[in-house]
Symmetry: C3
Amino acid sequence: MKLQHVIESQQFTVPLLMELFDRTRRMEKIVARGGTQDYEHKVMATLFYKSSTRTRFSFESAMYRLGGRVLSTENGKEFSSEIKGESLEDTIRIIANYSDVIVLRHTEEGAAKRAALISPVPIINAGEGNGGQHPTQALLDLYTIYNECKTINGLSVALIGALDNGRTVRSLTYLLSKFDRIKFYFIAPPEMQVKPDILAYLDKYRVHYELAADPEKIISQVDVVYQTRIDRERLKRSDIDLSAYNIDASVLKKMKSNAIIMHPLPRSVEIDQTIDDDPRAVYFRQSRNGLFVRMALLTILFDKE
Amino acid sequence: MKLQHVIESQQFTVPLLMELFDRTRRMEKIVARGGTQDYEHKVMATLFYKSSTRTRFSFESAMYRLGGRVLSTENGKEFSSEIKGESLEDTIRIIANYSDVIVLRHTEEGAAKRAALISPVPIINAGEGNGGQHPTQALLDLYTIYNECKTINGLSVALIGALDNGRTVRSLTYLLSKFDRIKFYFIAPPEMQVKPDILAYLDKYRVHYELAADPEKIISQVDVVYQTRIDRERLKRSDIDLSAYNIDASVLKKMKSNAIIMHPLPRSVEIDQTIDDDPRAVYFRQSRNGLFVRMALLTILFDKE
Amino acid sequence: MKLQHVIESQQFTVPLLMELFDRTRRMEKIVARGGTQDYEHKVMATLFYKSSTRTRFSFESAMYRLGGRVLSTENGKEFSSEIKGESLEDTIRIIANYSDVIVLRHTEEGAAKRAALISPVPIINAGEGNGGQHPTQALLDLYTIYNECKTINGLSVALIGALDNGRTVRSLTYLLSKFDRIKFYFIAPPEMQVKPDILAYLDKYRVHYELAADPEKIISQVDVVYQTRIDRERLKRSDIDLSAYNIDASVLKKMKSNAIIMHPLPRSVEIDQTIDDDPRAVYFRQSRNGLFVRMALLTILFDKE
């Protein structure tokens, strides 16, 4: 299996995804047994030009459960002025001297690709820009669907919320499209609907999708509800009742008994806490899967060396 | 021994304290031998909404001396905006996915208790709010007294300084009250005297105490002097000579030959550096005991799993 | 070999340097084999009152490759208010309770020496003030020269750029002066020439040096070109063409075929990226040598205990 860097979700073929998920399962068992020290010689650098405690901890914990060490930057704003002034390429070349893998979160789209072009060690894109890629989030989302639904082919998936600027939605849509007979339902206020380039992509690969403003009719048909946050301040109109997009006990009643509710977290009011204990609410397990998927990715990158 | 979380000093019974101190002694020996790798699979997260380099290093070093790994946040102000916006409960649930114990320092009183209610992994309160609990500081203070004086029962203890808003003083008073025949001397400018609820607590449990504004008479009688900082700017009056509360060579002369001087550190002028080498000045050993006590606490939490 | 602390480059004798370089070679081999766990019980604290991601990562990676652990402060500005207010000596005494070596970067000249006076664990100066010492940079620079040129005695060394306030230039000049028949060429705009105290030092030890404003004539004669950055804003005159100090393909053509080009990095325009692949461009290898030299220093400090 050839994987040099993890830059965007498009680079993952279905066989590579299945190999990744197989490893992910093994990682889950290894963590249950207390982790491994097999990678105790490995050093990971987390280079975060924009802070994200959650993503950083997930990667760093993955490295620790493998026995490795971590060079950590909590917040790019606190980088030394030297690093701020120099080219990304030079920074990567130097940090590659000190580490075996670099986890990069950057403010600019395309930064991970630029880094990968010159880096002698693997680069993992941990999110970039606003509309850019966040492939490991998409991979853990996909693994969660696979693990909970036992299949991906043939699933009906509703994506709800502010779909226009969510890189999570974008990456996940690309990944799901690689499987057979997926039906997408994009549910959002009209001004926050998914961008035309994604629809063009789905058209090109003849993937079924529907757009809707109202979750009411669709929620009872789908296998997966992927909920995201709607930023109230972005809506200029005041005539929309955003609570129609929230998920609470009354929405839950309409859902299939074996459907699942996902959320990239953090959540605000769009998922009511009272449903947290319902077995269909998988978002905390989803977050935990991030640990196992990232461990699996790291081992793929390390083992091929 | 049952210890699920470390939230407040009141939860420690005398037998639990003795067990803790027994373990603390063992930890001191383990560190002298170079530490252990027995807990190499364990991951600790330090989640500090308010920075405290000293406390953070003490916990992180404790984890390292046990062989473990650390997910670290230097400063909550630098948390990603995501974590800032979400509920403490959701943050704890997610970080518990990535760690085996969470050390929490928070700006609000009661935060550690709230976290413990929902956390699947042990929570250790590393200080909260201004008047709230800081139980591990109280435990290391108590261990220092026990280790230096070889007993706790029957000791006379003077607490000096700004006693009204010191969470250290509060936690230590609760802990010492569990032992027999303790005599407290609270020495402070009248406007900074210890709060009524603490005195009510001592009254309820029939613990001897005296209030004084002047250390002069009392200093020669006590076994333990617990010195704290007085923030000059908090005093509205200008007629108080705060230097009367300082400890220097002349005060030292009046003290018992086997008394000890403690301070939670950092110090300002309230302890003169010229007495640092006196054997009664135990504050740097006290700080070092923080390492051993925290190691002991971590092993209690890990071993019961 | 006696080495208690690493404070300034002057403390290194030629035999000590040779011992250090011998160890550095061994470290290079150890890293090629994947590092060692020999120092797994050791804890290093990086106490950076001024952030420097590059230097911090280099030290922390060195510790990890030796198997050790790291207490890390990303940025002194984020230290707790407690540490900000207390004396450096008290801070060092406390952090020495939690670590086996302290790597200190401070804003004031002389801080490392003050820390070393009272610290029970080794102090390593990782840079201080603006004109102060940065001895480990000088050591890795010297090692790079030694490793690339196979000797140090008899070399001709051109130092180019803003030589007046570079602590790198200062430390390296002191170190090189310990060897035989070194010829220095200080090339800078007149207002940025090397300070008189360095020239007085070279005069005292009868070391050959020349001052020049123009690299043109000299560049073809030297074995080592040590390039540094010129901050355009510091120049009040506008009649100087600073590009005369830059190194690009045309300059490279004039250089000896076995000369080397060094730079402490980060670089701006003073070294053109098009020459990065020339074998004489050693600055990225130089940066990597920082890892090995720091590993070697740490083992010297640990092994003597």
